[in-house]
């Protein structure tokens, strides 16, 4: 059986206490949590990363969005880059211990990212999602094309639910990334469990 990745992304609307508390429940289920808090400054993101370690997360389970400096300072395991971040080859040259991820929206972008030394990709949004309202989802076919074109893991994002997870894996995704699905859950433990069970079925 393959080992699929389960990424959880913060939504920028929770207090650090809530994120840390939730992460302590999610710890055994998830590959990593992405600190994606655009409204927070470097110091706040650093404190949050420290707090997550306090809740029992391993360094590999902490991924800082965009801010390579904070990822390094907090000894996080990964950094997730966006279009306006430092280039991946620059990051891996200077910080070889970081796992580097990047969000891409096309097959070509994915191939370029792989060439630049990115370790995994987010591809999406695959389905309709709360956070990308109004824009057309890319769908399973384009996900398959992208996943086929690269050898690094492609993680599907956008509208992922426990019930559509198996389609994503069949289309070649090596994992899923979830935001709304987790933060709006009434019972976080149950929700995380259904995602991880869905990831096992394939």
């Amino acid at each position: 059986m393959e080992r699929f990745e389960f990424h959880v992304i913060t939504n920028g609307r929770k207090q650090p206490e809530e994120i840390i508390s939730a992460a302590s429940i999610l710890a055994p289920y998830m590959t990593c949590i992405h600190i994606r808090e655009k409204q927070r400054n470097a110091g706040e993101i650093f404190n949050l990363a420290e707090g997550l370690k306090g809740a029992g997360l391993r360094r590999e389970q902490i991924c800082v969005n965009d801010r390579v400096d904070v990822a390094v300072a907090a000894e996080a395991g990964a950094v997730h880059l966006k279009g306006t971040s430092l280039e991946p080859d620059l990051v891996s040259k200077h910080f070889s211990s970081l796992r580097i991820g990047k969000s891409v929206h096309s097959r070509e972008e994915a191939m370029r990212a792989e060439d630049k030394g990115v370790h995994y990709l987010f591809y999406g949004h695959v389905f309709h999602s709360e956070s990308k309202r109004g824009s057309e989802p890319r769908g399973l076919e384009l996900l398959r094309e992208t996943a086929d074109a690269v050898s690094i893991p492609v993680v599907a994002i956008g509208g992922v639910t426990p019930s559509n997870t198996s389609w994503l894996l069949q289309a070649g995704a090596k994992g899923i990334a979830v935001m709304s699905g987790i933060w709006t859950a009434e019972n976080l433990d149950l929700e995380a469990r259904s995602y991880s069970e869905a990831l096992q079925k394939e």
Binding site: S21, I25, G54, A55, G56, D189, S196, Q200
Partner: protein
């Protein structure tokens, strides 16, 4: 010193010591308490010792009920411990004020008063002028307060010592500066690996505060816990500045013997940092002086930190391990460890003896987040 015990308790804080005490008081079990530092040296001695069964808990639920039942035990316990070991836990039942600064807080507190009264608990409103007659040094900007006559306080350091000392006089053995490293589970009983060699317990209780989560993982149990760091400080006065405990917006003031006043406490989730920050002291003093301006004339005594053991749903873990029948857990009491210690100790002693109805602890089950991870990051229900 014997290596074999009926019960080995990992953790010599308020909870571990209370369990040891009740075990020796209520049963014939031989008891060993293993503590990695000094007895009661972490959160137990950082606490202010408020018995805020109503002040700290203001929604209906298992904790509200438990807190009230535990509070009832203090008067008798205070006499009992003094008799056994001579230590005075400085139990005071002069009640507690929760103050309101503005109209919206007044409304909130009045709703709380209704809530407590509806649950059969005393609570009443004390208007500003009347409050100043009872506590004349409070600021005249305080609009009034909710008075909770049954919420008292103790000296938490003395209480932990008294539990430990009394348990010891009744035959429990204490091993301090010894760290529990892991467990070997056999058919019956558990071998406990420690930094001072191997000990054996017919039954083992994990009562290691915020560090219990890490011990539980070694038994295959995911029991999420995290620290909420708190900073406190104390001042001394020639004569007491207040007689009752006062809780204001994000700070509390607890009068202690000898003109001491404890001011607490900041909250920082996820931090294991033991430093007292200037920022924390500034925050506490400015909030506290808003209700009691005179505190700024007190003499500085000291400041300290502690790590409240918190759980994701705010309820402690108390009960049996889902797989290992001889392993028990009592941890995660957050801000309420001192208040909940007597009933936790009694319940756990009864549980170990097989005399407690399982129903009592249902909501506190240690395996309520318990799914274990195997090597492949896949998950299955803990297999018993």
């Amino acid at each position: 010193m014997s290596k074999d015990y009926d019960v080995v308790i990992a953790g010599g804080g308020i909870i571990g010591c209370a369990i040891a005490y009740y075990l020796r008081k209520l049963t014939d079990y031989t008891v060993l308490v293993i503590e990695k530092g000094r007895i009661g040296s972490e959160a137990s001695s950082a606490a202010a010792g408020m018995l805020g069964a109503q002040a700290e808990l203001n929604e209906a639920g298992p904790l509200y009920t438990m807190a009230r039942e535990s509070r009832i035990l203090f008067p008798e316990l205070s006499r009992e411990l003094k008799e056994i070991c001579g230590i005075d836990i400085e139990f005071i039942d002069k009640g507690l004020f929760k103050t309101a600064g503005d109209e919206s807080e007044v409304l909130k507190l009045k709703r709380l008063i209704d809530f407590h009264n509806n649950n059969g608990q005393p609570a009443h409103w004390v208007a500003g002028p009347e409050l100043l007659k009872m506590e004349p040094r409070l600021s005249d900007r305080v609009a009034g307060a909710m008075f909770l006559p049954k919420d008292g306080q103790v000296n938490p350091v003395q209480l932990t010592r008294a539990f430990a000392e009394s348990a010891s006089r009744l035959g429990a053995v204490f091993l301090d500066f010894t760290e529990v490293a892991g467990f070997d589970f056999s058919q019956s009983g558990i071998d406990v690996q420690t930094s001072a060699g191997m000990y054996y317990g017919e039954k083992v209780v994990l009562a290691s505060g915020v560090w219990t989560g890490k011990l539980a993982v070694q038994s295959g149990l995911h029991m999420p816990m995290f620290p909420v760091k708190g900073e406190c400080l104390s001042l001394t006065f020639l004569e007491p500045v207040i007689t009752s405990t006062v809780i204001a917006d994000e700070c509390y003031l607890v009068p202690k013997r000898g003109g001491r006043l404890v001011v607490g406490a900041t909250m920082e989730t996820g931090s294991y940092d033991r430093k007292v920050r200037a920022k924390g002291v500034l925050e506490l003093l400015s909030k506290a002086s808003a209700v009691l301006p005179g505190i700024l004339h007190g003499e500085w005594e000291k400041a300290w930190t502690g790590f409240r053991p918190q759980t994701p749903d705010g309820l402690p873990y108390m009960g049996k391990h889902p797989c290992h029948k001889d392993l028990y857990i009592a941890a995660g009491h957050f801000r309420n460890g001192i208040l909940l210690s007597p009933l936790t100790g009694r319940w756990m002693a009864e549980l170990l003896e097989g005399k407690l109805q399982e129903e009592t602890l249902r909501e506190f089950a240690p395996d309520r987040f318990a799914y274990e991870k195997n090597e492949r990051m896949s998950f299955h229900e803990v297999d018993c």
